[in-house]
């Protein structure tokens, strides 16, 4: 091992440790700013109070938590059926050539920035919803539809990977026993690919809950707890984005508290995925 080798090794160590240090730094920073707030004001009080009025020192984030939950659920309701259906079709019913063309096309289109999705929601979807269903158009429904489309490529891609990873014998055996392709899908393939598909859904969930710009553009940002899908709402991410520019003191820490909640949620989601894959 020459001196050169030693130097290179030291450099790699240095860079790696720096990177890991940076990632630790941001994690600790966010928790350090947000967690004290949660404990000072009382975790339960903050999470379950619904009055958010920083100028009155009121920091109840319940309405925004509900907003995030509703919109994310809505996105999943739109994205899961469409996404898994596309994946099933492309893997089990389509010609290999069709699949080879369409899969990259869908992934390519996944590169569309979220602000463009939000824009389309703003000028195409919201007016339609306003004319036909009422309300302002800036609503949970619009946001769910747009976010659902946004997470489609994730769900499709990972579901396809899971289905393609199944041994060919599963399908061949089932067909040999006289089942139709569809019966095979329902009774053999989907259950077998279950964990991968669920992992893809969880990833899509993570992306939906983390979306900020598109939601600000089409969900209306209201602080009321929504009662219908046509109601406007504000998510936690939008809440952070709308006020972080000027929030100081307790207000800023409240925003960090929301960041902590989102962080922990993503942590839980990732743990779930790891757990699912460890079971295999």
């Amino acid at each position: 091992m020459g001196v050169n080798e030693k130097i290179i090794e030291k450099t790699i160590y240095f860079l790696a440790f720096s990177a890991i240090f940076i990632l630790l730094l941001i994690t600790i920073f966010i928790f350090k700013e947000g967690v004290p707030f949660l404990f000072n004001y009382g975790v339960l009080k903050i999470i379950f109070r619904s009055s958010w009025s920083p100028s009155d020192q009121e920091f109840g984030i319940f309405a925004m938590i509900i907003g995030s939950i509703y919109i994310t659920l809505g996105a999943l309701i739109v994205g899961i059926p469409l996404g898994v259906a596309c994946a099933i079709y492309l893997c089990e019913f389509a010609h290999k050539r069709t699949r080879l063309i369409i899969k990259p096309t869908i992934e390519l289109l996944a590169g569309i920035p979220s602000v463009v999705y939000g824009f389309m929601g703003m000028i195409v979807l919201a007016p339609i919803i306003r004319s036909f269903l009422g309300g302002s158009g800036l609503s949970i429904l619009s946001a769910s539809l747009v976010l659902g489309i946004m997470i489609l490529p994730t769900i499709i891609s990972i579901s396809m990977d899971s289905l393609m990873a199944l041994p060919k014998t599963y399908k061949e055996g089932s067909i040999a026993l006289g089942a139709t392709t569809w019966q095979t899908v329902i009774m053999v393939l989907l259950p077998a690919a279950k964990s991968g598909i669920i992992a893809g859904i969880i990833l899509g969930l993570g992306r939906a809950i983390g979306e900020t710009m598109a939601v600000i553009m089409i969900a209306g940002n209201s602080l009321k707890i929504p009662v219908s899908v046509l109601d406007s709402t504000r998510t936690m991410t939008a809440g952070i984005a709308l006020e972080m520019g000027y929030a100081i003191g307790d207000h800023r820490m409240a925003l960090f508290a929301m960041a902590v909640i989102l962080f922990i949620f993503i942590l839980l989601l990732n743990s779930l995925v790891t757990f699912i894959f460890q079971k295999k």
Binding site: S53, P54, S55, A126, P127, R130, G134, S136, G137, L138, I216, G220, N221, S222, L223, K224, S232, R234, L242, E243, G245, Y246, A247, I248
Partner: protein
């Protein structure tokens, strides 16, 4: 192919580093402003004029709302904070401030909304949520949607102070974060009502009279239209010479004429 790419990336890196080093040294005169979205377009326009006359000056303008301007100038990360509110908060009481313009707040509705006039009391009831249907103010029945600015807006603070007084904004309000976005939201929703700086009025939305008074700069100047506030420039502590010069320019006749021509009320 990959090695060509590697070489290309390497060259791109080297060029970038070169650019950063040579151009990066021009950190000299960046004058930074941030804050009021009502004044932002005017600050930009005046910055253009100023930079035409002063080759070496570079002026960066951010929006973000008056509260952001106040926070930023307080922290020293901008030279000038722009804030459009009736009174500035205590946190900047130790800083120099100067009024560079005045501006009225117009209540706006959708172009096709037949309403022409509204009383201050009705306005208060609408924004506190007591009135929730257009019927109550004399037009055909339809749900009334209130659009407000977020907390950090000077326009909002002023509006709340003058119209809402001590009452709270309705929980049903939707929010947008700048004059432009409020105008956009009201423009597309037939049942919406909102408020923007008079300087932001254009043909895409309809302005509503308050107690019979038209929302115009004339009426703000002569005191008839009372929904108005001054636009402050807050100077950071130890502000530099370059920024001071720019402020002098903003208060000059030339700049004030431009301000007046483009929809705000000059301070002179």
């Amino acid at each position: 192919m990959v090695s060509l790419l590697k070489r290309g990336l390497l060259i791109a890196f080297i060029i970038s580093i070169y650019l950063f080093i040579t151009r990066g040294s021009k950190t000299a005169t960046i004058i930074r402003l941030a804050g009021s979205t009502a004044f932002q377009p005017f600050a930009e326009k005046l910055a253009d004029v100023y930079m035409d006359k002063n080759e070496s000056a570079v002026i960066d303008v951010q929006g973000g709302g008056s509260a952001l301007g106040i926070m930023a100038v307080n922290q020293g990360i901008v030279d000038i904070g722009m804030a459009d509110m009736l009174q500035l908060p205590r946190v900047v009481s130790h800083l120099t401030k100067v009024v560079c313009a005045r501006d009225g707040i117009a209540v706006i509705v959708h172009k096709d909304n037949p309403i022409e006039n509204i009383s201050k009391k009705q306005l208060q009831d609408i924004f506190t949520g007591k009135i929730t249907n257009w019927q109550k103010v004399g037009v055909s029945p339809a749900p009334l949607r209130v659009i407000s600015r977020e907390d950090g807006s000077g326009t909002r603070k002023s509006f709340d102070q003058i119209v809402l007084k001590k009452n709270k904004l309705t929980i049903n309000a939707m929010y947008q974060d700048s004059n432009g976005t409020i105008r956009e939201a009201v423009k597309s929703d037939e049942n919406a009502i909102g408020y923007i700086s008079i300087g932001f009025i254009n043909s895409s939305v309809k302005t509503v009279d308050i107690d019979g008074i038209n929302a115009t700069n004339e009426n703000v100047k002569n005191g008839k239209y009372t929904l108005a506030r001054p636009i402050y420039l807050i100077l950071k502590k130890d502000i530099g010479q370059d920024a001071r010069q720019f402020i002098d320019f903003l208060l000059s006749n030339e700049a004030q004429t431009i301000i007046s021509k483009n929809g705000l009320i000059p301070v002179k």
